[in-house]
Symmetry: C2
Subunit: 395 residues, 2 copies
């Protein structure tokens, strides 16, 4: 039997426009926070995983994990960089999990980060599009926002979702982020300001019809980090360990148009089913969820394909406040990608950081009371590679 694995430390850099720090600085900031939180010594760390999608392209730095091991004085710890598009963070957590469960290593640092704000937005959009199908999508000018625009249109036609639902999710996530000191955006927004009044269009310009600015996440610099160890070691480092109970991953067609029904996120379904099965848990058991709302329509679609709501009904749950911080299933208490921000390689780790804080009961003003089980969905490509996790309080 593989060993059980627990999270014993977590930390974040401030997310945002971080002109004060390069990529390595952000990785160090988050890593130091999680190492301090775990109360581990430098010698306790056997291996590190770094997730970063674009460290080579945007920071002209490769083998980034070797550099972080050196910067943190963790030599001779093993070190690997994982690149899996926006799911890089989830993949790093998964591989760190396997490394500990397999007894290859005892205690492992996982840090994800991205530095993206120092170049033009169009450059970022182009580089992110390198995760799409090179000949069937990319060469025709397809980008992630354009895929999301088409996906939103289809979802609206098929299930009766309206743009006001996307606005409501954005408003919820901005509101949650006000309670998260590490979030990128600390600004309350209103339905009047971005949607319901004629002049709202000026505040909320079109990005990719029908997607508008406030229905999409920002470009963010930042890093997030956790420390994991075997469950039997966990009490050495933490009196509130959180167990990685379920890990699921699945791929789907690279080109979105090849899917039988493009509104069905098959990789979300399969990865979630695997994570729940491994955790011996069900969607109904989950108290708090972090979803990958790179575009607000994805929070709706993922919450359905993960099993929390019937297909085509999540927007009604949003209307009723079910996913609000005080609702039955709070989604993205951190502020989500929309307002906490989306430093691409950091996101999958940042979701785990938020769940860990929630399950420890240390999430402050945004605490979901009595949270025992958490779920995260880290969405890569346009749904072509998804990681799902189920975390449980205790070891």
């Amino acid at each position: 039997m593989p060993r059980k694995v627990a999270i014993v430390g977590c930390g974040m850099s401030k997310f945002g426009r971080r002109d004060d720090m390069d990529l390595m600085g952000l990785l160090v900031e988050a890593s130091t926070a999680s190492l301090d939180d775990a109360n581990v010594g430098r010698k306790d760390i056997d291996a590190i995983y770094v997730s970063s999608m674009l460290s080579g392209e945007l920071s002209h730095q490769t083998a980034t994990a070797s550099a972080l091991a050196d910067a943190l004085s963790l030599l001779p710890a093993a070190a690997d960089r994982i690149e899996n598009g926006p799911a890089s963070g989830g993949s790093a957590v998964k591989n760190a999990y396997a490394a500990v469960a397999s007894e290859l290593f005892d205690t492992v640092l996982v840090t994800g980060g991205e530095k993206m704000r120092h170049v033009a937005g169009a450059t970022v959009t182009d580089l992110l599009a390198t995760m799409t199908h090179p000949t069937a999508e990319y060469m025709h000018g397809v980008t992630l926002p354009s895929l999301a625009g088409m996906f939103t249109r289809l979802y609206m036609q098929r299930y009766g979702v309206e743009l006001r639902h996307l606005a409501m999710i954005a408003i919820k996530n901005h509101k949650n982020a006000l309670k998260n000191p590490y979030a990128h955006i600390h600004r309350e927004i209103t339905l009047e300001g971005i949607y319901s009044k004629p002049e709202a269009e000026l505040n909320n310009p079109l990005i990719s019809d029908p997607l508008r600015l406030y229905y999409s996440c920002p470009i963010t610099d930042g890093a997030a980090s956790i420390v994991i160890t075997s469950a039997e070691n966990a009490s050495k480092f933490s009196d509130a360990p959180v167990t990685i109970a379920g890990v699921g991953q699945a791929t789907d067609t690279l080109a979105v148009h090849q899917r039988d029904d493009p509104t069905v996120l098959r990789a979300v379904r399969i990865s979630s089913q695997r994570a729940f099965a491994m955790a011996k848990s069900k969607p109904e058991d989950i108290d708090v969820a972090e979803l990958h709302d790179a575009f607000e329509i994805l929070e709706i679609a993922e919450s359905e394909d993960a099993g929390f709501f019937e297909k085509g009904t999540a927007h009604k749950a949003v209307e009723k406040g079910v996913t609000a911080l005080d609702g039955d299933l709070p989604i993205n208490p951190s502020g989500g990608l929309k307002a906490r921000g989306h430093p691409v390689g950091a996101t999958g780790v940042a979701q785990i950081v938020e769940l860990t804080s929630q399950l420890r009961g240390e999430a402050g003003e945004r605490q979901v009371s009595g949270a025992e089980q958490g779920y995260s969905c880290n969405f890569g490509g346009f749904g072509n590679n998804v990681l799902a996790f189920v975390l449980k309080r205790g070891d």
Copy 2:
């Protein structure tokens, strides 16, 4: 206890200048070969790992593992890309090992590849240098060949190594590669042609004093692939499984000048000690070794720090033919990085492919007779991140 893990399939693309194929084509070519060799069905593969250092920078493609899963029709298999400089391949094998040992997945495909010949050599040299220390090395113009030049000079002064020893290793590796149909370079070279005659300098131009062309590996396109599974499953797919008995990884200072003694490859020592300890094996037990001779001086240094020869004596073993194909410890029967070639992300996997062929007794003309245990050293950065493996015949 973690499960034992065995290699049940291996395959390679032809290495060389592959103007006929893009990166994905090379990855598919090698993957198909190893899937066929393992006799696994598409549904048997639970996860894939792709190692590639520069797929984003040189092929404008990221999340490369998701793309390969799609290209091979392996959906919904999990898929991650590992980037760890020239040690990317070893890191991918390590993570695949942990994924199987931890019971997260049963059967996993690992494919490493790089497409590098379609751009100017100076571009490649610059991008490879992004793995060095950004402020202490890279910004001063340090490249991998310049580090290797300085390392060679120091090694010559300290241990009495002469350039003719580097020529002898190059000659040996070219000779071995003549027996490897997948090797990049099929050309016999001689001491007269590259070293001992006055006109030899014309054939063997200076790269980075004292390093010359034939003391360095070429720039190569190519991919290599293995299929691994749990030892208990291995007989389903192969009647000659090879066990991954030892896995070691270690890091060293990012900047080479920060090491107490730059001629000591500390990460090679530590990673090898770990791999041997895990395998309950010793250097004397090894019948065949694949070392990372990106520069020929590294074959000497690694063979010492891995424990095969006393420090400062490997060049004498080279003189005596100990490391030749018919010697006591054949090193790089594949032709090594020098002549099989060095598609950066492929190399660590290609080493494992060669050892697997050798331990199965299927290496044809270059077979090391009676090989029971093999060792590989996959060297990242300039020795700042090293993977060592011990493989054993049988399960």
